[in-house]
């Protein structure tokens, strides 16, 4: 005899409960999983205390730069395993040199002295107050930390390059090929990137955590670069900014760049 409608629904209901019951203890185990084994604390062992700030910022004084000096670029790119593909189309850079007319198009005019127009100016990620790259990133691989550093989580980057389109400063570079073979000397303390990942300056976040200033700032023998907390009136950047007029790149865009240029 075929079961009645009522009997069939009863059987179906009991079967459904029977299917769910065995997995319940597993669920509670999974929730009590990894983090229960230990806890994490912010201070790293056996190193300098981490440098902390309310708002990290950098000042650049290109007039102090020696001619043809690329110490900041070399130091940064060695530190962070930045590849050199040897071709401007695929160029990957965290910090580079640019002409004034390119980075300050509104301020440039034909009567600028040669000492300004010929001046190579170090440019890097501006770690914007209101970063357009963070807004467009579909995976939140780029995010802004509480201390103002605009950081990349390379694990999450899917290589869509929205951030490259959004960044008005060209601070981001794409790895169109596997960068490993193009790194002159690998620094084992910092990971490389992989093919299909965008990269950019991170204000040496990994060095700050170890209590060391950014590589470019340390490498600059002419003290053209300064780094510090914008909220601290006695920080290096504030002392420099207090002296006079400083420029930011394309402030009219509303990105709130945090790299200040003194020309």
């Amino acid at each position: 005899m075929a079961p009645t409608r009522r009997e069939f629904i009863k059987i179906a209901g009991f079967s459904a409960v029977g299917l769910i019951l065995p997995s319940l203890p597993l669920l509670s185990q999974a929730q009590a999983g990894t983090p229960a084994a230990g806890s994490v604390s912010p201070a790293a062992p056996g190193v300098l205390p981490a440098l902390k700030a309310k708002r990290w910022a950098m000042t650049v004084e290109p007039r102090k730069c020696r001619p043809d000096c690329t110490d900041c670029i070399t130091a940064c790119h060695l530190e962070h395993n930045v590849p050199d593909f040897g071709n401007p189309k695929d160029d990957v850079h965290w910090i580079s040199l640019e002409r004034v007319e390119h980075i300050f198009p509104a301020e440039a005019h034909p009567r600028l002295p040669e000492s300004i127009t010929k001046l190579p100016v170090p440019v890097l990620c501006n770690h914007c107050e209101n970063p357009p790259c963070v807004r467009v990133c579909p995976t939140q691989a780029t995010f802004k930390r509480a201390d103002g550093i605009v950081m990349m989580d390379y694990h999450r980057c899917i290589g869509c390059r929205f951030c490259m389109a959004a960044c008005p400063y060209g601070s981001r570079s794409m790895n169109y090929r596997d960068p490993r073979p193009f790194i002159r000397k690998i620094n084992p303390a910092f990971p490389t990137r992989t093919k299909g990942v965008v990269e950019k300056c991170n204000f040496c976040e990994e060095r700050l955590a170890r209590g060391i200033l950014p590589a470019c700032v340390i490498a600059c023998k002419d003290k053209a670069l300064a780094f510090g907390d914008l909220e601290d009136p006695r920080s290096d950047v504030r002392l420099i900014l207090d002296k006079g007029l400083s420029l930011r790149r394309r402030p009219e865009l509303g990105t709130g760049p945090q790299v200040y240029y003194i020309l």
Binding site: G38, V40, P42, A50, I186, P191, T194
Partner: protein, 133 residues
């Protein structure tokens, strides 16, 4: 009920069943022995207490979750130290902490990952110290 082309259909089903179950009866009784992991690196031999960040059974079943938590914490929250259940503090670093002891990645990580068919993408970016030029 009449089965048209019965011979071909039944032969086809038999062939399909043989092919589909081939891995099961071919591998019967031939158990692949679990990998033999080497734990005798110099750094491990120097340890007084032979213990990983957490206990060995915990690490065996949870190292991927632990590494995932380390990754999220270090990159996104800036948490760079880990206090183990027994109170020991470790630096959160794959190349620095894990591979410091397990410097024999080929005899340790790879053997088990190959055995279980796991293909972690860690090493496309993170550096294996023994392989650095």
């Amino acid at each position: 009920m009449k089965l048209y082309n019965g011979g071909k259909i039944i032969a086809g089903i038999v062939v399909f069943l043989i092919v589909a179950t081939f891995p099961f009866w071919y591998g019967r009784g031939k158990a692949v022995s679990p990998p033999d992991l080497k734990l005798d690196t110099p750094a491990i031999q120097r340890l007084k207490e032979k213990r990983c960040v957490e206990t060995a059974p915990f690490m065996r079943s949870n190292h991927m979750k632990l590494l995932g938590a380390w990754r999220e914490g270090a990159v996104r929250e800036g948490i760079r130290s880990y206090t183990a259940a027994d109170g020991q503090v470790f630096q959160v670093s794959l190349t620095g902490t894990c591979l410091e002891c397990h410097s024999n990645k080929k005899q340790f990580c790879d053997r088990c990952h190959d055995y279980s068919g796991a293909k972690p993408a860690c090493w496309s970016c993170h550096i294996i110290p023994e392989e650095v030029r």
